[in-house]
């Protein structure tokens, strides 16, 4: 690992992003099928649904006194992932596969452990960001590998949405004591100049955190 990569690892508050990236992957010698890729996508969505549900159960995120911007975002994003889960399973069923409702087996334990330790909004945001980054990069990677037209269209329609979730979470991390909606309320002068650029750190979306295409396939 070079120094540049090492610096990137320091970006995570919880280390969960690193753990998700470093989780051992099992590579197979066969080319993953569309069914396997869709099942893996469903398993990643199931993982996200579970994590966001746990996050919203925390008073700091989903409670009455939580930051309304953060609470609304987590609630809306949970609904998105629920819809994505259903869509991936509908598509995999449509091409003759079995639906996948279990979370990605390689990441489930890592996320479950991270969820137990969630104590602050910052740690929740960091975990959610790690999950969104994995999902978006996996879909970007799979889009060029899928052969079924409907599967490809679905993946393409979802990957950018997960990237938007990541952008908002990056903005949450960056705004610190400021409020992103403060821009709309005419109080942006206190914002660091780079806050609005924090949401899109790369000109080309990376795929180095993409999960193996068949990782979440049913046996």
């Amino acid at each position: 690992m070079n120094g540049r990569r090492a610096r990137r690892r320091d970006l995570s508050d919880t280390g969960t992003a690193d753990e998700l990236s470093a989780t051992t992957t099992v590579t197979t010698s066969t080319t993953p099928t569309d069914i396997q890729m869709l099942q893996t996508a469903a398993s990643l969505e199931a993982l996200a649904v579970s994590a966001y549900q746990r996050a919203l159960a925390l008073p700091a995120i989903g409670g009455a006194s939580a930051d309304t911007v953060v609470r609304d975002f987590f609630g809306s994003t949970l609904q998105h992932h629920e819809q994505h889960l259903e869509a991936f399973n509908a598509t995999v069923t449509g091409i003759g596969g079995k639906p996948q409702r279990s979370p990605d087996p390689a990441l489930a334990a890592v996320v479950a452990e991270a969820v137990i330790g969630l104590a602050s909004p910052a740690s929740v945001v960091a975990l959610a960001l790690a999950i969104e980054q994995v999902l978006s990069e996996t879909y970007v990677s799979n889009t060029s590998a899928l052969s079924d037209a409907d599967a490809k269209k679905l993946c393409a329609s979802v990957m950018g949405v997960e990237a938007q979730h990541a952008a908002v979470l990056l903005a949450f991390q960056a705004v610190s004591s400021a409020d992103p909606t403060g821009i709309d309320r005419g109080t942006p002068d206190g914002l660091p100049a780079t806050v609005t650029s924090a949401g899109f750190p790369t000109a080309f979306y990376p795929t180095d955190k993409a999960r193996p295409a068949g990782e979440g396939a049913t046996s």
Binding site: R4, R7, R8, L11, P59, A60, G63, S65, A66, D67, T68, F73, S76, Q83, S120, P121, A122, V125, S136, V140, T143, S144, K152, K153, L154, A156, S157, V158, G160, V161, E162, A163, Q164, A167, V168, A171, Q173, A174, V175, S176, A178, P180, T181, I183, D184, L191, P192, A193, T194, V195, T196, S197, A198, F200, P201, T202, A203, F204, Y205, P206
Partner: protein, 258 residues
């Protein structure tokens, strides 16, 4: 937890943020750009050597500095079989999509340039530094996207697309002339970002080569991230759709007469 406590828990200093941004820019250089260059290289190889019926003009190689620096030099001498491949008059197939995409990126970069000029001239009222920072970064990213698309086009022996989408450009100019503040200018930029994202997403279903799909797939999410932050600036839901719609996608006919 109060709103104030939540903010405190997520606190990060401007110095840390600047350092973080610098690190992520390094990631962009280390990971994202080389991956893009590899996809472009694979794409232009296919076009250059006749797989899609194109012929490389001797000496033609990818354009701009950033991506060009990542691309290895290719031999300019063609074999007899390669030289017999008929060169079409203008890009077609995947390269027609690249032409449309480059024209949209040119338009976006020019529009953000107009925003920066308007800010400097005081035409948008009092503008916080974060907005100028946003426009500067996004303009640079769109220029890189245009460069990427043009690398594929020039790599196949065609001239690069340097003009904006001819259908959208007058519409954008008309709308931008009426912008008087950050919100109205941001709404115009948002329309452009939504249009680019929808166009690339639509193209993914029609592009033939996996390498060209990889190029579109690596840019589309970035346009959507721009849109998310613009939605924030305007005061809208930053992620309004669970599935990104295609309704604003531009057709290939926009650049058919190029």
């Amino acid at each position: 937890v109060s709103r104030g406590r939540a903010r405190e828990a997520m606190a990060i200093s401007e110095r840390q943020l600047t350092a973080m941004t610098a690190d992520l820019e390094q990631v962009n250089h280390d990971v994202a750009v080389p991956a893009m260059a590899e996809a472009i290289e694979e794409w232009t190889d296919g076009a250059r050597f006749g797989r899609r019926g194109f012929l490389l003009t001797a000496g033609v190689i990818a354009g701009g500095a950033t991506l060009a620096a990542c691309l290895p030099a290719k031999p300019a001498v063609l074999s007899g079989a390669q030289a017999r491949v008929r060169h079409p008059e203008k890009p077609n197939g995947d390269l027609a999509v690249a032409s449309l995409a480059a024209s949209l990126e040119n338009l976006a970069a020019a529009t953000y340039g107009d925003v920066l000029d308007a800010i400097a001239a005081g035409k948008l009222g009092t503008v916080p530094p974060t907005i100028a920072s946003f426009a500067t970064t996004v303009k640079a990213q769109h220029s890189m996207h245009a460069e990427a698309w043009n690398s594929a086009i020039t790599g196949a022996g065609f001239s690069s697309v340097t003009t904006p989408d001819p259908v959208l450009a007058p519409v954008m100019a008309f709308d931008f002339a009426k912008a008087t503040d950050v919100k109205s200018a941001s709404a115009i930029a948002l329309m452009l970002e939504d249009t680019a994202a929808a166009t690339y997403q639509s193209a993914i279903a029609t592009l033939q080569a996996p390498s060209s799909i990889r190029v579109a797939a690596s840019i589309q999410p970035v346009e959507m991230q721009h849109a998310a932050i613009l939605n924030f600036i305007i005061g809208r839901n930053p992620v309004p759709h669970a599935f990104n719609p295609l309704s604003s996608a531009r057709p290939l006919s926009d650049v058919a007469k190029r």
